[in-house]
């Protein structure tokens, strides 16, 4: 029951409330994560110009040089060199390119496949839905990493194969989420109106369903970017990822792990830091997008 006191108390609330909300909204934008992702992207694009050395060729006389601020380090190799005398900084810079390309392409492959199957499954229903969802269930029951390793063992290592492997490993998450969304969308009046206006199923899916699920797909994509990059690093670490001469962050971690015991910390800490920053940034940006694009949360 509303007491008179409640009614009187209400009008004083809104201005302050609104101001607080507005502040949160603006302050919410993840500036630092976005900046980090932007820097990594730029570094990936201009790797050729930025890298001081060739990332794949080193000189054995220059092995295990520490970063410049430690004794024995030199300004020529800012972050030191690895066991083959290759410049760690240059390898990190080119590794950003591998991580970005693999991450974004794999998310795209997974997103396109998953969204399409999700829409088909949710909109057509019936046996199409049954078939797609049972495949999805089976897929989800497989341990993702083991499955990815298995696939990698079959198709062999190459950067583009990793993209495909990660795509076929992770499409199921899209299919599930998008199907759920479509199930509620297809009962919406504007979809019915399109049906009674004589539009075909295909044009309804393309014109009315797809644009309405794109938001969710984008949000999911930004969250999946982190997962995909971690998996790529894990595959590289396990030796079934990007093949050795190419500088992938996960591969660098793997190569440096023996060195860690004898004090060559820079071989693992720097690539590890890069992976962590990128995944963290992707997740924070994804969280923000999710809140921003979800109409229910947006109203808050």
């Amino acid at each position: 029951m509303t007491t008179p006191a409640d009614i009187i108390a209400l009008p004083s609330q809104p201005p302050r409330e609104r101001a607080r909300r507005r502040r949160i909204r603006i302050g919410d934008f993840p500036v630092i994560p976005t900046a980090i992702l932007l820097v990594i992207t730029l570094v990936a694009i201009f790797a050729n110009q930025l890298a001081p050395h060739n990332p794949e060729i080193g000189s054995l006389t220059m092995r295990f040089k520490p970063p410049f601020w430690q004794t024995g380090g030199s300004m020529k190799y800012l972050l030191g060199t690895d066991q083959l005398g290759r410049d760690v900084l240059s390898r990190l810079i080119f590794g950003a390119r591998v991580s970005m390309v693999v991450g974004i392409m794999a998310v795209l492959v997974a997103g396109v496949v998953g969204t399409m199957l999700g829409i088909l499954s949710g909109y057509l229903g019936g046996w199409v839905d049954q078939v797609i969802m049972r495949i999805t269930d089976t897929w989800l029951a497989l341990p993702a990493l083991t499955f990815a390793i298995f696939l990698a063992a079959i198709v062999g290592p190459s950067m583009w194969n990793i993209v495909i492997i990660l795509g076929v490993t992770y499409w199921t998450r899209y299919a599930r989420v998008i199907r759920g969304e479509v199930l509620s969308l297809r009962e919406r009046e504007f979809v019915r109106l399109a049906i009674v206006a004589g539009c075909s199923k295909w044009s309804i899916m393309a014109r009315h369903i797809l644009p309405n699920v794109i938001n969710s797909a984008i949000v999911l994509g930004s969250l999946m970017l982190g997962v995909v990059i971690i998996t790529e690093a894990t595959l590289s670490f396990l030796g079934v990822g990007v093949p050795p001469p190419q500088p992938a962050w996960g591969l660098m971690l793997s190569d440096g792990k023996q060195g860690l015991m004898v004090g060559y910390w820079w071989l693992t800490v720097f690539p590890g830091l890069c992976i962590m920053l990128m995944v963290l940034s992707a997740n924070l940006l994804g969280d923000w997008l999710r809140v921003k694009l979800d109409p229910q949360l947006r109203q808050l």
């Binding site: 229903g125 009046e189 109106l193 049906i195 009674v196 206006a197 004589g198 539009c199 309405n212």
Partner: protein, 340 residues
């Protein structure tokens, strides 16, 4: 009224079949109706009486569980029941259009108004985008949207409820259909907007010689808009005929009860009469007349045997009741149409 009517439903039945045939809901049961070109038919009945299912049946856009189990729908000489899905798509939106229950939600929030009005035109008439948009602007003008030039480029959230409603109407009219089915098109609007919209529909109908089927539970709208009236109860058509006849001389006890339960301005002496009881479960209909349990005049025969599909108490009027043959039409109390 010579010649074949525009639409003639002949013992049309649509059932929802669940549990592999164990549970059958007779949502539309042997409904026969006719609609002539340029005429307005009102279909009334309480919630769950099968009105909306009947509308969906006429468009052939039933949910998966529902099946047309019998009867015919003759539309301009063709039986819509026999049409393939592809053929129906040609008809939907082009020759039979529909305005849905909640026009507020009928527009896709992501597309401009012009886009959505032009869509059925492009689908059905294979005209260029520019032509379709030109037509969209003309339609907005026809449904009295001010400054159509700018409105056509705006999004649904920039419109008021009444405007969105008229836009949905414009989409319905976009391919100049012969028949427009409006399923409770005004329930979500306030009264003044309702009246505007009804006037608009009537003007459009006159200009284009359009036949209208109005599905509603508002008898006031029926009185204002319709030439013919059909009353549905538990999936069956209990009474139909010209509005003036059904209002002034209702034959079926259900129609009488329905008309009696309308509140009347200035009547302070009587309590509002309601129809006692609940409509029957459509999956377990009684053996006899579906209304028998609630009917004040029911007798043994009503409970044992369903009344025949049609009797003819007066020309053009039909009712499904055992009493009708005996009831002289003039003995029925007069209910003025203006009062509802």
């Amino acid at each position: 009224m010579a010649g074949e009517p525009l639409l003639r439903l002949d013992k049309l039945s649509t059932h929802y079949i669940a549990g592999g045939g164990l549970r059958v809901v007779r949502a539309v049961d042997e409904v026969s109706l006719t609609v002539n070109a340029g005429e307005t038919l009102g279909i009334v009945g309480e919630s769950g009486s099968g009105k909306s299912t009947l509308a969906l049946t006429m468009m052939r856009v039933l949910p998966m569980a529902a099946k047309i189990v019998g009867g015919h729908m003759w539309f301009e000489g063709e039986d819509l029941v026999q049409k393939t899905d592809a053929e129906m798509r040609e008809i939907r939106g082009k020759r039979i259009a529909m305005v849905l229950q909640d026009p507020m939600a009928s527009l896709n929030p992501l597309f401009t108004i012009g886009n959505q009005i032009a869509e059925p035109i492009q689908v059905h008439e294979k005209v260029s985008r520019a032509t379709a948009w030109e037509r969209a602007r003309a339609l907005l003008k026809a449904v009295r949207i001010p400054s159509p030039e700018t409105r056509v480029r705006q999004f649904p959230h920039e419109m008021s409820g009444g405007m969105r409603q008229r836009i949905v109407g414009a989409i319905g009219m976009s391919c100049e259909p012969r028949l427009l089915i409006a399923d409770e098109p005004t329930t979500s609007l306030d009264l003044t907007i309702q009246a505007q919209y009804l006037n608009l529909l009537r003007d459009l109908q006159r200009e284009h010689g359009l036949a209208l089927i109005f599905i509603t539970h508002n008898l006031g709208i029926v009185a204002k808009m319709c030439d013919q009236l059909a009353v549905m109860y538990a999936g069956r058509l209990v009474e139909s005929g010209p509005v003036s006849r059904v209002f002034n001389a209702p034959q079926h006890p259900y129609t009488k009860a329905l008309l009696n339960s309308i509140p009347r301005m200035g009547d302070r002496d009587h309590r509002l009469t309601a129809i006692a009881g609940q409509p029957p479960d459509l999956s377990a209909l009684p053996r006899g007349c579906a209304f028998a349990q609630r009917c004040p005049q029911a007798f043994d025969r009503c409970r044992a045997e369903a009344p025949p599909p049609v009797s003819y108490p007066a020309p053009g009027q039909t009712a499904r009741c055992w009493l009708v043959e005996d009831a002289p039409a003039e003995a029925v109390p007069v209910l003025a149409g203006a009062a509802v």
